[in-house]
Amino acid sequence: METKEFMIIDGIPVEIEGEKNLLQMIRKAGIELPTFCYHSELSIYGACRMCIIEDSKGNLDAACSAQPWPGMEIRTNTQRLRKYRKMILELLLSNHCRDCTICERNGNCKLQDLAKRFNVDAVRFPNTATEPVRDTSSHCITKDQSKCILCGDCVRMCDEVQKVGAIDFAWRGSNMTISTAFDEPLAESNCVGCGQCAAVCPTGALVIKKDTEQLWKELDDENVKVTVQIAPAVRVALGKQFGFAEGENAMGKIVAALRRLGFDEIFDTSTGADLTVLEEAKELLDRLESDAANSGFPLFTSCCPAWVTYCEKNYPELMPHVSTCRSPMQMLASVVKERFASSTRKVIHVAIMPCTAKKYECKRKEFEVDGVPRVDYVITTQGLIQMIRESGLVFEELEPEAVDSPFGIRTGAGVIFGVSGGVTEAVLRRISSDKSAIGLHTIALQGVRGMKGVKEAKVKVGDRELRIAVVSGLGNVRDLIERIKAGEQFDFVECMACPGGCVSGAGQPYVPESEVDARGKGLYAADKMCSFKRSEENPLAMPLYNGLLKGRVHELLHVHYSGSEKEE
């Protein structure tokens, strides 16, 4: 029989089950040790020292970077440790802005939380906080150097998980900052706007751009007709903030809230996703038919704006392989704007998105018609939560409502777009010749579902076996592209910039990677509740293609990105 190994944490034996560090052991023992710089998906940095522990000999060590061993005895909450933790917080606060009430992260800031938790009621060091040092150049992210505590979470996220490497430490000692190469503004750097840095930032140093103030004005203006679409991933991430379970589908309540906030027409991005499926499947089949030399393969998906920007900036030579389909947001926006073109009121279109990069996508010149964008405002899930709170609506008590017709009619295929593997599964449902229920289940079991960063599958279409890769997290995307460049063959590659797909988008309330799964499950559950599973079954498709889209499919649903231009 295998002997179990134990260590002692605060006098209680805890079994060692292969934990990599003491911090994991301590958290298993039900103790929430404070950290700034520890994230399980990032490498261990050991900089903040908040997780210090004391061993039986009185030695201090950071729990995140120490290994447990059998018989080890540690304490996590002694007078000495409390004193040091408090001092670390005081030192951090000594040069940090303390105007919490006017900070974007008020109520959602680790520094604020821990200062409260450790009862920091005074800072004994001189206040050397500087004025804000803001970089507002990016459409997606605002950086304020004066609120940075140099934990390096953003640097490691950008470098290790996303492998973008837009930001790094620069300068030295008390002059050290987080900086782009050569201190360029973010918009001119190789940043792609995925926002994952802001998602892990413990303070207000990196925050998502907000456009809610301008939107309120539009909502108040009686001469403006405000149309809106809600992305799939939003409905499974918003509810938690109002007391629902993580991943619970709150679509009905979101629609009710939007209507009460003053939105005139409320639609579902999933309808746009259905159009994307039809167009992307057609593009894939066309390439399969016409392209005997295989030079057009692989075909990369184009729904994710951070991926498209990433490709433009790093692999411009691959842009001809990126599908010409507009993202579901842009497809639906085109259709909505066309539909209401003859309205007597000014029509604006708003998109509620889990995504920060969409804020850049909506401003791209390619999507302008006579200087007017198709999507006027992109509001993140967090932005919508804030608007609901500001309005005073009691979200929990809202009666669920349905979206408006006609662009609310969607299929399950359009709903699962919000999770990694969803686009692929939807396209497979479209091109598979087996339209039975069994066929549907078979597709789901091909290995395209789940939160793994790289999923590969082989699927037979006609007499050809399609080699498919589903990749999420830009770091995984880079690795796969390098494999392709080294000679590996793929036919269809789904790329999503955020690990796990849009459900973990940086515009969503942040949850650790381990908890994102619930959101994905919420979307698959929503798919099950849809009467139509395949995009071609969408009752709206036929009338659209025979009506509004007739002869204008290319103009309204496709795009040619003008190359690797940088943000303006």
């Binding site: 620069a170 050569f182 750097s189």
Partner: protein, 166 residues
């Protein structure tokens, strides 16, 4: 930027040779940057970008290393490099005043280190090991001790004349 591009084009082979010598090994970044600086007198942005691409690391990483070490210069330097010692002995003998005089006379400040005519670059250094001469400065390879405000202005004029006559 325009100027950098021009320099970069003319000296393209230099950086290539340095990279080849180190077999494009990213772990050799510091020695590579040292040699680049020796060849170009500073680290031009374009060259740093080129080094990053060649070593398959991000420009941000190169920038981080280049700004970490005070040895590396990110701007081109003037003909005369003035190093004012501000070690303990020189500091108590009012080296800061000497720095101020140089800054005022040459139109420099804490961020601007090189004069507009590209003649002088002012650097503050820690001890240069000549405490007996405090406050001490060096201009290129010449050492000047027991500096005063008056001597500082005299020296500036002397080097300006030298530059005209050269």
């Amino acid at each position: 930027m325009q100027k950098n591009t021009q320099e970069f084009k003319t000296n393209f082979e230099t950086v290539c040779a340095i990279l080849e010598k180190h077999e494009f090994n990213p772990h050799m970044l510091v020695p590579i940057l040292q040699e680049v600086q020796a060849a170009y007198s500073y680290l031009p942005e374009d060259v740093m970008n080129y080094v990053a691409n060649a070593l398959k690391i991000t420009p941000g990483t190169v920038f981080g290393v280049a700004t970490f070490y005070s040895h590396f210069a990110l701007e081109s330097k003037g003909k005369y490099i003035i190093r004012v010692c501000n070690g303990t002995a020189c500091h108590v003998r009012k080296a800061v005043e000497i720095i101020k005089v140089f800054q005022t006379e040459l139109g420099l400040d804490d961020k601007k280190h090189t004069s507009d005519d590209n003649l002088f670059t002012l650097e503050e250094v820690a001890c240069i090991g000549a405490c007996g001469l405090a406050p001490v400065i060096t201009i290129n390879d010449d050492v000047y001790g027991a500096m005063t405000k008056e001597k500082t202005i005299e020296l500036i004029n002397k080097y300006k004349e030298e530059a005209v006559n050269a």
